[in-house]
Amino acid sequence: MEEKKVVLSSEHVSQFFPIKNGFGQVVNYVKAVDGVTLELHEGETYGLVGETGCGKSTLGRTLIRLLEPTEGNVVLNGEDISHLSEKEMRKYRKEVQMVFQDPYTSLNPRQKVGDILMEVLEIHGVKDKDERMEIAMKMLAKVGLRPEHFYRYPHEFSGGQRQRVGLARALILNPKVIICDEPVSALDVSIQAQIINLLQDLQKEDKLSYLFIAHDMSVVKYISDRIGVMYLGHLMEEAETEELFSNTLHPYAQALLSAVPNANPHEEKQRIVLEGDLPSPINPPTGCVFHTRCPYAKAICSEKIPVLKSVNEKHKVACLLYDKDLNPDAE
């Protein structure tokens, strides 16, 4: 397989949020993301899936440096940006942008659409007002909006149109990477398809890389080249899309995929039901974080922490069932 260019990567990134008591002393940490390593290649879509509280959004916000990682490094085009100050980050902001879930709260209600777009250019030093307007107009056309939308306020738009404005705002600086945080989950079914198609068209046009964070497996499967599955702050499995669906290895990923409904009434599915509730990220289980709910858990799973290891060139998994180095009984 050809070596692909890595545009954005996280190396053992952890994000711990301190919990303080009444006196301001740190008593514990919420371990939202714990040692995640992943690479985003040029021009690909990497789907990041997992359930509420698995840390996928936190990881996305760490990668775009809205948050400073507690441990580990975020690397953009070969440069470590993990601990840059807000000022130093500014020149890297052009490279990575974000599209948000809720199109209703992601636009300033007091700014006209045109002003929203032009302000971004102003921040990044486009001094000439006519030039700013021209770029903004072109951007509107690119995301399928009309010139008169330039002068309208966000509340005059439908959810799908707002999401287009959000996309235009992210794209106006010509970024290489876009982190999409559940970009279609707040939209109606028929609008979802419009936005997904638009995302794909833009990707082809500009060679964009997407980190696509979502919980809807059918959408992720459709749009992604590779998929990573997260659980309680850990990356459990990572594989190319077809490989992941045809040869699911991690017991959690198996359960997750088996739960996804398919729009086919003739299909009878065998569901794997997970016992118990999601453990708290404040006191995650020892060893493999999934062992408390895993149907195949063995004694060793509560002692040793599995690491993400390649099983073949398209597929990595963090599970002791497949790890001969840590678990002598593995297959």
Partner: protein, 325 residues
Amino acid sequence: MSKEEILEVKNLSTTFRTERGDLKAIDGVSFEVYKGEILGVVGESGCGKSVTSQSILRLYDEKYTAKYDGEILLDGKNIFDIPLKKMQEIRGAKISMVFQDALSSLNPVLKIGDQIMEPLRIHQKLGKKEARERTLEMLRLVGIPAPDKRIDQYPHELSGGMRQRVMIAIALACRPQLLIADEPTTALDVTIQAQIMDLIVDLNKKLDMGVILITHDLAVVAETCSRVVVMYLGQIVEEADVNDIFDNPKHPYTLGLIKSIPRLDGDPNERLYMIKGTVPLLNQIPNGCRFAPRCPYATDKCRTNMPELKAVSPTQKVRCWMVEE
């Protein structure tokens, strides 16, 4: 399968009085619910699916906000003829409802046991001990582990999935004939959603009640429902068995919806179908067929004349001029 009708909605319209004039949120909706079936009501936001369900329980204030037309027959009696005070005897006892947001639907300062007992004590006038017994039974029925412990817990001590199970337990406590589930799993994760949907299917069989499942998720419909009603802008555009809806959709809107969702077994290289435009606002309802402005097959007739909901087979009804010709 013999069909016993529980509920018949006949030509139901709900009009809201607003500052800007009256808005007809649903317009001439008719369907039946049979014992032991799960009827899916699908549509996008603004199609009136939730208004329909809330109208069945007459949940809108009739003095100031809403006006109902048509009939809703429960056991042959029109719900709109019942005095409002007596509606309480139907709500929760004969028809009950599960909402999307389980956390805000539960009272945070009451133990869950008390919340399940409440309808039992109101409707069935059970004593304290009996009610507690029944509550434990209900908790077991909806699959809550260690019910004797959970019964004395508060809602915040439970996870999202557990809370939705409690909601279902409350709804089913008085063994209603009909359960209306309004987007019961939208706020939940897929693994929990699967469990709750399985529970609803399971209870539907066990208790032999009718279920109306209101959702925007076609995949959920495909997996759980036996019959489907598709709504668009306050009207039913198609009604059919679930297999017909997915294999042989007759209305362009149904077809568009089905083609526009990515399927797990679909081809990722194939471009998703797009329904053009957006759902119009209720005060800008187009003339003629309401879907005409977004329909790829629309003709001049579609833009001027409204088609009727017509049966094309014993189990399928469609509102479209194309089918009539």
